[in-house]
Subunit: 207 residues, 2 copies
């Protein structure tokens, strides 16, 4: 029996390096991993591509999707709506592909309620000072937005204890290695291995 | 705050390759890992060294240790007694060293009851036919002992679902890599990271 993919919830405050880590993880387009492309009502940032970084929709479209129960989870974050399509997730997992949900703690709680076996990974900066440096150094946003992001970051980080794994992103390559170890370990859990090796286990345990 | 070591329970039927895997894992004497040296009443096999593979004791000595509550867990397996010293385990974990308990399912149940955070790893052969080949191929024992070990193996394997992780030891280097991934992942759990980074988390979450 083929393996079933694992669903990973990856959350972090802005500036922790979550997007960079997920990009690095998936840059060689591995066949067994995908980031879920969320729907959002916020405007694209420079360089973002519709359908690749997000599905950019209007607020009206988003609310229609909620009414259709199209979302596995959705939340309003910092004034914008974000949501994850249910059908795409289920189909992808069934094909043995690990799926990564790049969502905030609100979305994480909804996903965990619907799918307790989802694995939460929280990425933290190595210190508050470093977080401030990284948020200031982005160069894309005004100082008011940065101050607001700092407050949002502290709020997001207060939920770290709702996650199964924590990565401290101090040195990038180490954090990436940590992420790979977490992903690999989840293919070795009893539940995952029992699914993958169902027939073999029957053979082993037969008299 | 320094990390606390994780306690791993490693079980397997005879012939699954557990001893070889643990030896390979620890052959470079890593500072942060140790196999717990159990006490046993069985006779040493060729090449086994007292104090290194086991503490070989008499049945009377073993029973006295039980009475002294010296054991974290103990069990009778295949006619011999095996036990793990409590004090050594606790001291080693406190020093940030991962400890591996090479014990059977009975010992595993006792350890899990005393320390639910202990991580169970079960090692399986890739098939029943392969298991039989490996048991026959050992060359150390009589055919009656091998038949009895086969029955014992099936009995041990029936407890695989009491473990947190399963490694199928088909190709040795892959199984060793799997074991390393499991070990590494457990240093990244919320509980482990909260212990390791306690002060940093206070700093991050302070207003």
């Amino acid at each position: 029996m083929a393996a079933r993919g694992n669903l990973f919830i990856v959350s972090a405050p802005s500036g922790a390096g979550k997007s960079s880590l997920l990009s690095a993880l998936l840059k060689d387009a591995p066949a067994d991993m995908q980031v879920s492309v969320s729907h959002t009502t916020r405007s694209p940032r420079p360089g973002e591509v519709d359908g690749q970084h997000y599905h950019f929709v209007s607020i009206e479209q988003f609310k229609a999707l909620i009414a259709d129960e199209a979302f596995f989870e959705w939340a309003e974050v910092f004034g914008n709506f974000y949501g994850t399509s249910r059908r795409v997730i289920e189909d992808t997992l069934a094909r043995g592909i690990d799926v990564f949900l790049d969502i905030d703690w609100q979305g994480a709680q909804q996903v965990k309620a619907l799918m307790p076996e989802a694995i939460g990974v929280f990425i933290l900066p190595p210190s508050k000072a470093e977080l401030e440096r990284r948020l200031t150094g982005r160069g894309q946003d005004s100082s008011e937005v940065i101050a607001a992001r700092m407050a949002q970051a502290v709020s997001e980080m207060s939920h770290y204890d709702e996650y199964d794994f924590i990565i401290v992103n101090d040195e990038f390559e180490q954090a990436l290695a940590d992420l790979r170890v977490i992903i690999g370990s989840q293919r070795l859990t009893r539940a995952s291995q029992c699914h993958t090796h169902n027939d073999m286990l029957d053979d082993l345990l037969a008299d």
